[in-house]
């Protein structure tokens, strides 16, 4: 079957008017909104930072300037590598991995509990509702709530002082405790639901059988539930990792003064630095690195792309 045949079939099935409409809308989405902007950003990241009148002029040639800047730093700097930006980049990725693992550990028991306690429908529904409600609250407001709790005169510090456990407020913001708590909080739901959906379809008899044969509680999870839930776990981890590495609001609000998030550097190049090509180059680096990490993880755990988003 060749392409022209496929098109003829398509239009026969949908009719010319509807078929054209669907095709145009999908093409607009895929080409104009998804593919072209990414390509144009890629192209843009290889160009010099020029004032608008010189764009498209003789000086507008391709360059690796911005990628070099990320790796080597400004020309003539003291260090041979761009320690600051690369450090932030590495720390962001490490922190994202940390938050992802933390979320997995927190969410797996809940997802398992919710999925396996189908019998008592009422309570489960209420718990699910309670899970969803925080997710509907604005991201900024959620971060703000954590600032109220962790701030210098926040709830925890005031409570500890009143109880006489400490004399001076602990700086949770500088220690990044607030940031990790806030980031983990923000994406809990995206970890729970994929795992929940998969475990829900697990036949309870399998667990019963394993138990009857004398498997311990931990062994049942390790050998039966987790292998079965692998697609859900990996899709949850993928989403949480990508969103955490690309988070901007929580680091801006909860991040300590000494710790930057890589997205904040990108933001600075766009809004304060005014060097768009450099910001675009940094964004490309972030995107490509995240995709590589996720793909290699999926290869490692033998999970397919089609499992994501189910």
């Amino acid at each position: 079957m060749n392409i022209s045949n496929a098109f003829r079939n398509y239009f026969e099935k949908n009719g010319v008017g509807l078929g054209t409409f669907l095709l145009v809308v999908v093409l607009f989405w895929v080409v104009v909104l998804i593919i072209l902007p990414q390509l144009s950003m890629l192209d843009f990241s290889f160009r010099h930072h020029l004032p608008p009148p010189e764009m498209g002029g003789p000086k507008d040639v391709y360059t690796l300037e911005h990628y070099e800047y990320l790796v080597l730093g400004a020309p003539g700097a003291d260090t041979s590598y761009n320690v600051v930006d690369l450090g932030v980049f590495g720390r962001t990725l490490m922190a994202a991995v940390f938050v992802t693992v933390l979320n997995l550990v927190i969410c797996y028991p809940i997802a398992y509990y919710l999925a396996q306690s189908k019998g008592s429908g009422g309570t489960t529904r209420i718990l699910v509702l309670l899970l969803i409600i925080p997710y509907w609250i604005n991201e900024i407001l959620r971060a703000f709530a954590f600032r109220i709790i962790f701030g210098d005169s926040g709830l925890i510090n005031e409570t500890l002082i009143v109880m006489g456990l400490i004399d001076n407020p602990i700086d949770f913001i500088r220690a990044n405790v607030a940031l990790y708590a806030g980031l983990g909080y923000a994406y809990i739901l995206l970890m729970i639901f994929p795992i929940y959906n998969v475990i829900e379809s697990l036949d309870r008899n399998q667990i019963e059988a394993a138990r009857d044969m004398g498997a311990s509680w931990a062994r049942i999870h390790w050998r039966v539930v987790i292998p079965y839930a692998k697609p859900g776990i990996s899709s949850g981890c993928t989403m949480v990792f990508m969103l955490t590495a690309g988070a901007l609001a929580a680091p801006q609000i909860l991040g300590g003064p000494s710790s930057l998030w890589f997205t904040q550097i990108i933001y600075q190049w766009f809004n304060q630095g005014g060097n768009w090509p450099r910001g675009a180059a940094f964004a490309i680096v972030l995107l490509v690195t995240c995709v590589i990490i996720v793909l290699s993880m999926m290869r490692l755990f033998k999970v397919k792309m089609g499992d994501i988003g189910k």
Binding site: G15, A280, A283, G306
Partner: protein, 421 residues
């Protein structure tokens, strides 16, 4: 075996409590700070119940224009992403099988691409287009609302598509074929068969899209231009100085969310209840009888209770004025401040006394020895020989109370008071 079971259950309960505490605690704390009077949002110490932050919020023009922009962007995004998501889902069912995996990866990718990247690419792309077309700066292609709608729709359409795909899996294509056989045109079959079937999915996709658009920050922060949405305004406020009016807004949003969730739950249970009783679905929809609707429907009861509570609160807020309490707290703070000053003065006096005693003769020293500093609030103020010491010129013009009641002290007491807020 039994004891192990019990232990497991205990741990599970403890875990559930901790988990939901983590999940809901911050929201509850934030809601309560909206009603506390200090200018920095905090729960402790609790000072006065106040509603003034809601007033402050209502008078904040940036917030109100932010809400308007958010609504505009939200509606635009809903329309665009629902249409694109539906078309994308339909295309997925019909696409050439060899292309399907690639196509799926491409349309699902926007969910995984960091929002920052989406915002930047949208901004850069349309900027270049507008340069290519020779439009000056400020053309509609660089308009913040236009860019924000496009940027958000890019990934929100993917969410919508997932909702539609789930629903389409249960669609019986035989229905469309039957309609076509009976002489319907393709457009008619689409409008009369497929769309009604997709209606619930369209509704939930629209709600999802609107919420996602309303709370989006990462993409919008690059594209908003001159039209900051509510989320952008909030972020600005939170980053550069916070006050409880944000808590007030959060409280309103949380209440709306809970009401929406409860209303949905009521509707769902109401339907299910009637279905269990054997009534056809068409009879259930639209008939809204109060007593029946409350029976066996805890969500409805909670909803009614919350509504009642809300009205009572509003009525209470009309008549209640926290002025007295705020004055009271201010007074208490002043008293505290004065006590602190008194303490310092007293300590200084003790010190002076000690200095003098060491200089004076031994018997005088023995008379003051038991009054070591820090014993009782009034230390040695009322000791008999204090009256003599008052005359010592070291504290000129100040009485035993160290001038606490001097008129100037009230002013002195207030600035640090404000700072501590």
């Amino acid at each position: 075996m039994k004891s192990e079971n019990f232990l497991l259950k205990f741990f599970l309960a403890a875990y559930l409590i901790v988990f939901f505490g983590y999940l809901l605690g911050p929201l509850i704390v934030m809601s309560f700070t909206a009603f506390n009077s200090p200018a920095f949002p905090k729960l402790t110490p609790w000072e006065c119940l106040t509603f003034e932050w809601f007033d402050v919020l209502a008078q904040d023009e940036r917030i109100t224009t932010g809400i308007k922009n958010s609504l505009f962007v939200g509606i635009g995004t809903v329309i665009l992403s629902v249409v694109m998501g539906l078309a994308g889902a339909l295309m997925l069912t019909q696409i050439w099988p060899k292309m399907r995996a690639t196509y799926y990866t491409v349309v699902i990718a926007p969910i995984l691409i960091p929002g920052v990247v989406l915002g930047i690419s949208t901004l850069v792309f349309w900027d270049r287009i507008s340069v290519l077309l020779g439009l000056g700066s400020g053309s509609f292609l660089q308009n913040g609302l236009f860019l924000t709608i496009l940027g958000q729709s890019t990934f929100i359409a993917s969410y919508c598509m997932l909702v539609f795909v789930a629903r389409l899996q249960r669609f019986d294509t035989g229905l469309t074929e039957a309609a076509l056989d009976l002489g319907a045109t393709n457009a008619q079959a689409f409008r009369k068969i497929l769309l009604p079937f997709m209606k619930p999915a369209i509704a939930s996709a629209a709600v999802l899209a609107f919420l996602a658009s309303f709370e989006n920050y990462n993409t919008t922060t690059f594209t908003f231009g001159k039209f900051p949405t509510l989320t952008i305004e909030l972020a600005q406020k939170v980053r550069y100085g916070i006050d409880p009016s944000i808590s007030a807004l959060a409280f309103i949003i949380i209440c709306l969310t809970i009401l929406g969730a409860l209303a949905h739950e009521v509707y769902r249970r109401h339907q299910q209840l009637a279905l269990n009783n054997g009534a056809p679905l068409s009879a259930v929809q639209g008939s809204f009888q109060l007593p029946k609707f409350l029976r066996g429907n805890p969500a409805a009861i909670v909803l009614v209770l919350i509504a009642l509570g809300g009205f009572t609160t509003i009525w209470f807020a009309q008549s209640y004025s926290p002025k007295e309490c705020i004055l009271d707290v201010r007074q208490q703070k002043q008293i505290l401040q004065e006590q602190r000053i008194l303490e310092i003065k007293r300590q200084r006096m003790e010190q002076n006394k000690a200095n003098q005693n060491s200089q004076s003769s031994a018997p005088a020293k023995s008379s003051t020895a038991p009054q070591s500093p820090g014993k009782g609030a009034f230390g040695g103020v009322f000791a008999p020989d204090n009256l003599d010491k008052k005359a010592v010129p070291e504290s000129p013009g100040k009485g035993a109370f160290g001038g606490v009641f001097a008129p100037g002290n009230l002013d002195k007491a207030t600035p640090p008071d404000k700072k501590s807020d």
